[in-house]
């Protein structure tokens, strides 16, 4: 599609104070001439990813250490851990992960909305010693001003959010208020590819890297398309960009993601890659599938 065709798909209502169709077209035109080289690069080496598999809450310290070591052996360079249930636990677990991954690899933290605004600021003070790259969802995803206050207080740690942001109007404000350093679009929370395009192009205008959320069944299959498109057509940059990867349940998809050295290889089949296998649907159908009858 030409820049004009892409822009004609974007819903601009309620965001023209941040991004006009003309500005969106100019962004896409700017990178048009160099698209072929980036497409070739993506086909060869894929899009960078990080793993969330090691740092879930509820794992024992030993299990966290083991999973991080496994992740290192698989070649991962970015590790995300959950925080927010208990601060002293968080400090201890962050210490274990940082010890294992060393100073040169990257640690991210994710609070899944658990904190109030001032509480988030307080809790990040002792966690800053582990040099997290970002703190994700420190408070309510609707709280633009809260995120902005936290971002100012915890810098240089970046604030990331987006998996629970409902629409382009919330993202617009997160950009306008300088509330986030990482934009975590979600392919299913937003109103389809069209609204995702609106957010991606606003992110590019405001200089915020897009790092999609993929922590859910099928989300990796979806968002690989968005990240590869972002690189080839919109941002033309991999700086501070990385896409979530979770190694769960890909076996139920007809066109599962292909990972290579911690990177997503671009999908080569037509479509959005999220068709589920009919055997899986039959097996798990409630209440008559074999999985339920067992």
């Amino acid at each position: 599609m030409s820049p004009e065709e892409v822009v004609s798909c974007i819903p601009f209502r309620h965001i023209t104070d941040a991004l006009t169709p003309q500005e969106a077209t100019e962004i896409l035109r700017r990178n048009k001439g160099t698209k072929a080289a980036r497409e070739e690069e993506m086909r060869a080496v894929g899009y960078p990813a990080y793993t969330t598999s090691a740092g879930w809450l509820g794992y024992s310290d030993d299990k966290v250490r083991l999973l991080v070591r496994e992740g290192l052996a698989e070649g991962w360079s970015h590790f995300k851990m959950k925080v927010g249930r208990d601060l002293s636990d968080d400090i201890r677990r962050a210490g274990i992960i940082r010890e294992e991954i060393g100073a040169e690899r990257t640690l991210m933290m994710d609070a899944n909305q658990i904190w109030d605004v001032d509480q988030a600021i307080d809790c990040m003070k002792p966690l800053a010693q582990f040099n997290p790259w970002w703190i994700e969802e420190p408070t309510s995803p609707d709280d633009v001003l809260g995120h902005a206050k936290i971002a100012k207080a915890v810098a240089p740690i970046g604030v990331a959010t987006g998996e629970a942001c409902q629409n382009r109007v919330i993202f617009k404000q997160l950009f306008q208020a300088k509330a986030i350093s990482f934009c975590q679009i979600d392919s299913c929370r937003l109103a389809g590819v069209n609204e995702v395009l609106a957010v991606m192009l606003m992110a590019e205008k405001f200089g915020v890297p897009v790092c999609p959320h993929a922590g859910g069944v099928g989300l990796c299959e979806y968002v690989q398309h968005l990240s590869v498109f972002d690189y080839i057509a919109v941002s033309a940059s991999l700086d501070n960009r990385i896409t979530e990867y979770v190694d769960h349940l890909h076996e139920h998809f007809v066109y599962p993601v292909t990972m290579k050295d911690g990177r997503y290889l671009p999908p080569m089949d037509p479509g959005y890659s999220i068709e589920m296998k009919s055997e899986s649907l039959d097996y798990y159908e409630f209440p008559d599938g074999e999985a339920w009858r067992k």
Copy 2:
């Protein structure tokens, strides 16, 4: 209920940077001693209301004029009109209404989210000549920063919003950003009385009058309770406070509102006043009710 009991019902998660339980308790305690006098006043004269019935889009100029005259005859002092479909129509219709109601009565405008931010500011310039008290929902209800920008640009016209604001976190930010002069809580959009209480008490702390939205079947029955409670227990003021009234379909309710001289008389029956008559439910039940079989 005592101030402490009321406060124990309020969900404070994600709003403590704007209102703490201690502050909420203090507000309620401050007005406790004088509650009886306000309750007596409410029983005697009721809570002030305004009518939206005259200014719907799609009415002919003659019909608007006729409905305004009927409203005047019924004793209404505040009239709301819809705007945003066509600016020249809005200007002409606002002229008719202002001509009929005179300079001493109050005109409000409601755009129902139709404008983008800068468009709202542009459209309000020619409409300012009709001296509207507020412009309601000038843009997306999620756009806190947009409302704040519009509020600054259109002052002294106040910005009103709330009927489509999803939760206390959005309202919190509208207060923090000085984005609204009128807080239009909706009894059904928010998560019940508990969350409404959170918003009412934040409104009081930030000095923003609560003027509930009631433009929907049963909403008048609901919100009369909230407004009367706001006056007796929370704000202790009627300044700039007025509750919407729409004269539609009250006949289907077991305990319909009682209006007197353009004011809501407090409901005297227990409950939230929104039980529908079983005859109405039977008559309109789809597809077997008599209304559908006809």
